[in-house]
């Protein structure tokens, strides 16, 4: 009992000691954390998912128009425009990976739209089957793709297979001919059939990105919400009617899954930023480099892996700076808080962030990841990103104690 009493007295002392600095029960630091969330959630998460939803919608429109028109009418300009739109949407997705916690994980959207490897043999079998292609081309082709293809044939990497090969946009001639990938040997699959598949998968990708947007942002465009209603998919935190954005913004309140503002900040830093940091250094790069196995490379068709990694680190930058696309810390951002609250690791985070981006750009100048994955520069980049990860964890530990 003595121990319990001591703790209770300590808590009482802390609570009353903080009285002078508190407003609405929050300490000055907690009030600032609340402002950080109010800056971060709309300007990083809503903004990025808004871009992603719009761009994947445009990607679907472009591919489905091309598929409908037929390969005979297809121009190289059209293919290039589709490829550019794909890369734009891909960039927004990679820039969202510092906040995969929440809807992207809970609803399985991340593995649904971005797992690998693509099952090339399974795709060949699927597209060599006229009935299945007809289902993909049908009125509910998107629904068929979503329900029947399996995530090994869905998402970015399935579309990437149709649009890119060996790091280049595919040509009109390639799409007018039959597919010649080794997994398609002995099967006759036309470019037209591939476009039908890509359109259905792009529709499913769009739907999932709409869902991400709606699940976070209570003010998401009505058309996105209507599509989610049509698909009858949950768009709120389990057991509540809050969006994920409302849940985070309501930290420390009844009904939020974040019991304290410190835990909310810790989630942004650990479940968000640190998680993707480790994923890039140890898994996306590390598994191929350390395991010395080229098969562990995620985007083999477009050869854009380094760009993906840079966008992942930029996703961390935007989260720390408080706005998508930000090149410096915004007021009421995590990075500003680190500096203003006197965190002695603030400079180290900034340096590690810059070093990570620089190291990845150095890799990118040497070639595609699939071509240089054993190069020493890859280890240098992995080390830099691991260094950033370490700083993020230190910062999270510090913020939990504020």
């Amino acid at each position: 009992m003595k121990k319990f009493l001591l703790i209770a007295l300590c808590l009482a002392a802390v609570a009353c000691g903080e009285k002078n600095n508190s407003l609405g029960g929050l300490t000055a630091n907690e009030q600032e954390m609340k402002k950080i969330a109010e800056q971060y959630v709309p300007n990083v998460i809503y903004a990025t998912y808004g871009d992603l939803a719009r761009e994947t919608g445009e990607l679907y429109d472009l591919i489905s128009a091309a598929a409908e028109k037929g390969v005979d009418q297809l121009t190289q300009g059209q293919i290039d425009a589709i490829c550019a739109k794909f890369l734009q949407a891909r960039q927004s997705w990679e820039e969202s990976e510092a906040f995969l916690f929440g809807a992207a994980s809970d609803f399985g959207i991340d593995p649904h739209i971005d797992t690998w490897p693509l099952d090339a043999d399974g795709l060949a079998t699927e597209l060599a089957n006229a009935e299945k292609v007809a289902a993909l081309a049908g009125e509910d082709g998107i629904g068929y793709a979503a329900a029947k293809l399996g995530q090994e044939l869905l998402g970015f990497h399935g579309i990437e297979f149709v649009l890119f090969r060996d790091g280049k946009n595919r040509t009109v001639a390639q799409l007018k001919a039959n597919e010649d990938h080794e997994a398609f040997a002995g099967k006759t699959v036309t470019g037209a059939q591939e476009l039908v598949y890509a359109a259905a998968v792009a529709g499913d990708l769009r739907d999932n990105c709409y869902r991400l947007c709606v699940s976070w942002n209570p003010a998401a465009p009505a058309a996105y919400a209507e599509r989610c209603e049509e698909l009858e998919v949950p768009v709120s935190v389990t057991g509540s009617d809050l969006t994920y954005g409302e849940n985070l913004l309501g930290a420390a309140a009844a009904g939020s899954s974040y019991a304290t503002w410190q835990s909310a900040m810790s989630s942004i830093l650990i479940a968000g930023c640190s998680n993707i940091c480790a994923e890039v250094a140890d898994v996306k790069m590390g598994n191929a480099h350390s395991g010395e196995d080229v098969n562990y490379i995620e985007s083999p068709y477009s050869k854009k892996s380094f760009q993906d990694f840079i966008d992942n680190i930029l996703s961390i930058q935007y989260s720390l700076y408080g706005a998508a696309g930000a090149t410096s810390a915004q007021p009421h951002s995590l990075m500003s808080f680190f500096r203003e609250a006197g965190y002695n690791g603030a400079g180290a985070i900034q340096s590690a962030l810059e070093a990570s981006v620089a190291a990845l750009k150095a890799c990118q100048q040497k070639g595609a990841f699939v071509d240089i994955y054993t190069d020493a520069s890859v280890q240098t980049a992995m080390d830099a990103i691991s260094g950033l990860d370490e700083e993020l964890n230190k910062a999270a530990d510090w913020i939990l104690r504020q």
Binding site: L26, P111, L118, D121, T125, V237, A254, G291
Partner: protein
């Protein structure tokens, strides 16, 4: 007296906190909660400093945010096994494919393409309204001939589909079960068999639901179907994936300590005779599992047939984690062969049905590159299909077509490093008075009799199969751990209960973070409980339940104490 003092103290504290100023958030907000970070590693209230680390210092991650179930144990990093851990993690998370490296060999019949489908967020699976083999559905179908010819929980598995029935197949084969014909209905309990009301004495209500599954004869692509064999009655149950985090630590609990637990409990409760011989006061012969050839962590050879005590899966069918549910699943869920697993996970009834299916034969005949093509005649193809899909045919050495192992030995080693290297997140909020009170009540009402709080791992001289060639796995020596399980099976006698009636006491550690990691917090073997209260009350559905007495006491607790128990369970 002790309790009232605590309540007084906690009440006083609440008053002190709430007296510190007006709350801008008015009634939407509960009294402000303090971050627990500054207490981690300190003895607080009735918790020791060790209890912040449920899996010991070597097995606990300090991360408690979303995604923390994915973390490696400190031991994994300290032993320099992170490269293997990360490669093994990829095998768990990514898709297996027909023939695209690095994860190839899917099929011909399979349950899922990815482990993550059944373990969303590295958790326990989510309650499903219908059965589709995809992300989040951690259900395995349990199909058996009910002993009573109706709907008993007991009875032998049917032999026409695999023990973990498959609803997927690679072309041109048909899945053993057409999943679109599987119906899951969730029914409400209108009355507890035990007589406990569905309303607590203070007026708070709770609701219990349970699944009823039906699969018609037409869904089975087997010859014969289960409706034509055994007693011709077929019953169905759902079993969601069991927890995977921290299982390396459970593997490290010494057998002699588990035996002492059996001896201790056998004095008060009837234990499964398949595991415990009450008269001999010792394990039954069937409690032991015969291992394949391997070795122990200290290098001692373990010849084939070495015995180890069964401790893994709900039914406790497996002894070593390295030959446990996960080690088995990486082979049979995807049907990916490896050097030490040269056989398919299929049935003769499915092989026969496929060999007799005209569409299957025609599709193979149209594809001379098919391994089932044989001499190209319908008869030759049928014979190749019948034999190659047979579970007793060695896929690497037979008369029809010799396949190569689909998963490499090194990949399998990496997978086992990852599996044995998964951590348990640290405890949360042990500084809170309500959590401390919950711990006290949990023990007082008898929950801790089966949900045994702690164990010690001692030397952790784990077994590993010969295919690993003696390479090291994460090891957890001399750790005090807090899994909250007795490692023994009990019976709860729930409506449409678990197949076989006996179920190992589920470890409670880390489960309070399920919602953060997976978006769901469903509990019990088929996810019928939507929250902790429902899970507890299912323990008292029948007066025959081993946990009825504890549940009855829980039922009569004040709301404050019920909430404290829930907070405690969510904290550990």
């Amino acid at each position: 007296m002790k309790r009232s003092k605590q309540i007084l103290l906690w009440g006083s504290l609440a008053l002190i906190v709430s007296g510190c100023g007006p709350d801008n958030y008015a009634s939407r907000f509960e009294p402000k909660r303090e971050s627990d970070a500054k207490y981690v590693g300190l003895a607080v209230g009735n918790f020791t400093e060790d209890e912040w680390y449920p899996a010991g210092r070597l097995g606990t991650t300090l991360n408690v945010t979303e995604g923390c179930y994915e973390d490696e144990t400190p031991a994994t990093a300290q032993q320099g096994l992170m490269t293997s851990f990360n490669l093994g993690e990829a095998a768990f998370e990514r898709n297996f494919t027909i023939n695209t490296a690095p994860f190839k060999g899917l099929g011909p019949a399979y349950l899922r393409t990815s482990c993550l489908d059944c373990h969303p967020g590295y958790g326990h699976g989510k309650r499903q309204q219908y059965y589709r083999a995809g992300y989040g559905n951690g259900y395995l179908l349990v199909i058996y001939h009910p002993a009573d010819g109706a709907n008993s929980d007991d009875g032998p598995y049917v032999s026409e589909v695999t023990g973990m029935p498959q609803t997927k197949a690679t072309a041109p084969f048909l899945p053993p079960i057409d999943e679109e014909q599987i119906m899951i209905n969730w029914l409400k309990v209108s009355e507890m068999e035990s007589g406990l009301p569905l309303v607590f004495p203070d007026g708070e209500k709770y609701e219990l639901i349970y699944p009823e599954v039906t699969i018609p004869r037409s869904a089975f692509n087997t010859s014969p179907t289960p409706y034509e064999t055994g007693n011709q009655a077929v019953a169905f149950r759902l079993e969601s994936t069991i927890g995977i985090i921290g299982t390396g630590l459970l593997d490290a609990i010494p057998e002699e300590d588990i035996k002492a637990q059996y001896q201790s409990e056998a004095r008060f409760v009837e234990l499964n005779p398949s595991f415990w011989d009450k008269e001999a006061n010792d394990f039954a012969a069937t409690a032991w599992y015969s291992l394949a050839e391997g070795q122990f962590a200290d290098g001692t050879p373990a010849p084939a047939g070495t015995k180890k005590l069964k401790r893994f899966t709900y039914a406790m069918t497996r002894a070593s984690l390295q030959d446990g549910a996960g080690a088995n699943a990486i082979w049979n869920i995807t049907n990916v062969s490896r050097a030490d697993r040269p056989y398919l996970y299929t049935t003769k009834a499915w092989a026969k049905a496929m060999s007799e299916n005209a569409d299957v034969i025609a599709a193979i005949q149209a594809d001379p590159s098919s391994p089932y093509y044989a001499d190209g005649t319908p008869e030759g193809i049928a014979e190749a299909v019948l034999n190659l899909l047979d579970p007793s045919t060695n896929q690497f050495d037979n008369a029809w077509h010799n396949f190569s192992p689909e998963m490499g030995d090194e990949q399998y080693y990496n997978f086992l490093v990852w599996h044995r290297g998964l951590s348990i997140p640290r405890a949360r909020d042990l500084n809170r008075g309500s959590v401390q009170r919950g711990k006290e009540v949990f023990k007082q009402i008898g929950c801790a009799s089966c949900h045994r709080p702690s164990w010690e791992t001692k030397e952790d001289n784990y077994w590993e199969p010969a295919i690993l060639d003696g390479k090291p796995l994460p090891r957890y020596e001399n750790q005090k751990i807090f899994p909250y399980t007795d490692m023994i099976q009990h019976r709860l006698y729930m409506k449409n209960g678990i197949h076989g009636s006996w179920c190992r006491t589920t470890p409670l550690w880390g489960r309070g973070l399920s919602k953060a990691n997976t978006g769901a917090e469903d509990r019990l073997h088929d996810n019928r409980a939507r929250n902790v209260i429902e899970a507890i009350m299912w323990h008292g559905y029948s007066k025959k339940s081993d946990a009825y007495g504890a549940t009855e006491k829980f039922f009569y607790l004040s709301k404050e104490d019920r909430d404290a128990v829930v907070e405690f369970i969510d904290a550990i």
